[in-house]
């Protein structure tokens, strides 16, 4: 009961925030954090079960580009375009993941097949530049002012609220899975596929479900990112670098706890901003150096992620012996 109350109060506070505090740059960072948190949460949906995908950059790219292409070329509203993009990402996930699971491609192999997938999506976006703008990036065509059909708003507060809603939706899905039998099945599969199958679990189907869900959510994150930034480019929403960025942030935050990916997004985005601004152009390159070193240290010393390790530490009876 108390926990629910805490959640309610927290969420209300978050909703109220932009009406009290409206520094635009900080709101901008917050919106980015929320959208990326949602993307990282989506990744963790499967990552937490040992399905390490390096292909989510591809799904994100599909989400962003399909939405924008439909809008610019066919005038299809993002309200239809986003579901369509999610569908595309889901189908793509299905096409790649089904044989993977069918042929028992797991672990490193799975990670690298998906890596190749994000490589392909990236290359295709670049190579079909006549439609996608190639590496120059792509801008959804603007309508004047706030336009609900175009899902374009100049007011950051609107975006903040949208991103907040989506983010909360992501968490809700997480909790829903967490309490469903699917979680047991996925935990079992991640430990021992044969044994899970012997318990009656349809291993391929369960893995596919979670993969498609994760891909579809990621595509949605990509589409939102594109609508918010009003600009997408292969570098920012697609490819291997983006995939790695997702895995990084999610793991640094902690993939086994619901808020872990969110913490990961907060830490990585803030850290990058603070370091970049802190070092500025006085010590060029040092911000990335420090950022990298910090990430490595986080992962070595907090293997369960920042939030995961923190929670474990709070729970452990003798608080001074953290493993």
């Amino acid at each position: 009961m108390n926990k629910q109350l805490a959640w309610g109060v927290g969420l209300a506070a978050l909703v109220a925030l932009p009406f009290v505090y409206r520094d635009p740059y900080h709101l901008h960072i917050l919106v980015l954090i929320l959208i990326w948190s949602f993307a990282y949460t989506s990744w963790s949906m499967m990552g937490r079960f040992g399905l390490v995908s390096l292909g989510h950059g591809g799904f994100m790219g599909v989400g962003a580009y399909v939405t924008a292409l439909l809008w610019n070329h066919l005038g299809v509203s993002p309200w239809i375009g986003i579901p369509a993009a999610m569908l595309c990402a889901g189908v793509l996930a299905l096409i790649v993941a089904y044989p993977c699971f069918r042929f028992r491609i797991t672990g490193h192999y799975f990670a690298l097949v998906t890596l190749a997938l994000s490589g392909i999506v990236l290359q295709i976006i670049i190579a079909t530049r006549d439609y996608t703008g190639g590496s120059l990036g792509y801008t959804p065509e603007r309508t004047k002012g706030s336009h609900i059909v175009a899902l374009q708003f100049d007011d950051k507060v609107v975006w903040y609220l949208i991103a907040l809603g989506i983010w909360a939706g992501g968490l809700a899905i997480w909790y829903w899975i967490d309490r469903s039998m699917s979680r047991y099945a996925m935990e079992a599969i991640s430990e021992d596929e044969d044994a899970a199958a012997a318990a009656g679990v349809n291993v391929t189907a369960e893995k596919l479900r979670i993969t498609v869900l994760s891909a579809v959510m990621t595509a949605m994150a990509g589409a939102l990112y594109g609508q918010y930034q009003m600009f997408i480019s292969p570098d920012t929403v697609s490819g291997i670098a983006v995939s790695l960025q997702m895995v990084f942030a999610a793991v640094v935050g902690g993939i086994y706890v619901a808020l872990g990916p969110t913490v990961g997004a907060i830490i990585t985005i803030l850290l990058a901003e603070v370091l970049r601004i802190g070092f500025g152009t006085k010590a060029v390159g040092w911000d990335n150096l420090v950022y990298g070193v910090l990430l490595v240290l986080f992962i070595i010393f907090l293997p369960k992620g920042i939030l995961g390790s923190l929670l474990a530490w709070l729970k452990s009876p003798s608080k001074h012996r953290d493993g």
Binding site: D23, Y25, H28, G134, R276, G280
Partner: protein, 409 residues
């Protein structure tokens, strides 16, 4: 209260683009800004510059631009090397109604059909680069190659980023206009580990002229593999970026660099000083001296430095004073009106060209209509302007003489 103008300056100081020329641009802009700070500002306004590193990533560029505008409350953002950054940042600046002064990003797409109101680019566009290259070859075909333009075999190769694609479009348009026989047109990734099949295709296509647009590691990789595979041709025309950094080019290509062409806004140190506004040569000298302090011992001072310096200079001498005096301040609206009124004739800038921006309603609003690049040729560790005729310092050497390893003579 003290009068002050705050300028946000954004270039790539790290990441792949930094070495591709962005850092040199940064040096050039900084020299000029420091110069005006030293002079105590402009028209009673102190100048404060806040520098930011876009790290060769568009999202970082966007974030930094937003931060500088919204957090640091700068009056304008200046700089930008990559068109992939210019496009989204320009859109943001428009949305936030701030002011943006682009010193570099040359892609036509930055301004074309964007109806930009607050974004200005004194720089020539990528397509102009491409057109210029075709123009020189067309005019020299008969005399130097002994062929009609329609018999000229040209190949267009380019890195597949925004920059290469844009210039290649210009190459193609120019070639079509001149009636060349385009035997190959192909893009490749600047990070490709191998270009040998491209070279093989070129060998098969036997072009007289190769139009090439690339950054740096790919240019040297191409040149190295071309030499190793015995590619022969009559001329190699590069288009800025990597081709503008002679030091690196020479390091990678060795003696093969001789007679290579490069298209860029003219290097301010090569400009025909007698044709320039008389107040400019001392500024050019100052920039050169400052540059030598930053990077001592460079054989040919990079054109990148002068480009950023000159384009910044235009802002400080033409836009800013007018905005303050005539429109009463440094708000974006004042800057915008001032920029639209700039009217410099040819010879009015250190880069030789004049400045007049296309205004609202034009399909290229914000673009300097009087800018043009020039073609230089590297000959024995020196560079000479060889095209257009008006700026020519010597006749282009065409086709490659037999002494060159690439010569098809």
């Amino acid at each position: 209260q003290e009068k002050k103008i705050k300028i946000g300056v954004i270039y790539d100081l790290t990441g792949p683009l930094a070495g591709g020329g962005s850092e040199l641009q940064y040096v050039g802009a900084k020299i000029m800004i420091d110069n005006f700070i030293k002079q105590g500002g402009v028209e009673g306004y102190k100048i404060e510059a806040i520098y930011a590193d876009a790290q060769s990533k568009p999202d970082v560029a966007i974030n930094e631009a937003v931060r500088l505008i919204e957090q640091e409350k700068v009056n304008l953002v200046l700089g930008f090397f990559s068109s992939a950054q210019c496009v989204p940042v320009a859109a943001r600046v428009e949305q936030l109604k701030n002011f943006m002064w682009i010193t570099t990003c040359i892609s036509t797409a930055v301004v074309e059909n964007k109806n930009l109101k607050y974004v200005f680019r004194p720089q020539a566009s990528g397509q102009q680069f491409g057109l210029m290259a075709a123009d020189m070859i067309e005019k020299n075909a008969k005399a130097k190659f002994g062929k009609e333009p329609k018999d000229m075999r040209v190949a267009i190769i380019h890195e597949d980023g925004s920059y290469g694609v844009d210039v290649a479009k210009g190459n193609e348009a120019g070639s079509k206009k001149a009636g060349f026989n385009i035997v190959l047109k192909e893009g490749y990734s600047a990070t490709a580990p191998d270009l040998s099949s491209l070279v093989t295709k070129l060998k098969r296509a036997r072009p007289d002229v190769i139009f090439h647009t690339g950054y740096n590691p790919d240019i040297t990789l191409f040149a190295r593999q071309a030499r190793e595979q015995g590619l022969k041709f009559g001329a190699l025309v590069g288009h800025g970026a990597g081709y503008g950094v002679y030091e690196k080019l020479k390091e990678g290509m060795g003696s093969d660099v001789n007679y290579v062409f490069n298209i860029d806004p003219i290097s301010i140190w090569l400009a025909n000083q007698s044709a320039l506004d008389p107040k400019l040569p001392p500024v050019i000298k100052m920039v050169g001296e400052e540059f030598d302090k930053v990077k001592p011992g460079v054989a040919i001072r990079s054109a990148h430095v002068g480009m950023a310096a000159s384009n910044s200079y235009v802002f400080f001498t033409e836009v800013l004073p007018r905005a303050i005096k005539k429109y009463g301040g440094v708000d974006p609206e004042a800057l915008r009106k001032a920029a639209l009124e700039v009217d410099l004739p040819e010879g009015g800038t250190m880069l030789g060209f004049g400045v007049k921006f296309a205004g609202e309603g034009s399909p290229i609003a914000g673009q300097n209509e009087r800018s043009f690049p020039v073609i230089i040729q590297y000959v024995d560790d020196k560079s000479y302007v060889v095209w257009p005729k008006s700026q020519q310092q010597r006749e282009p050497v065409l086709p490659l003489p037999k002494t060159s390893g690439f010569s098809n003579q």
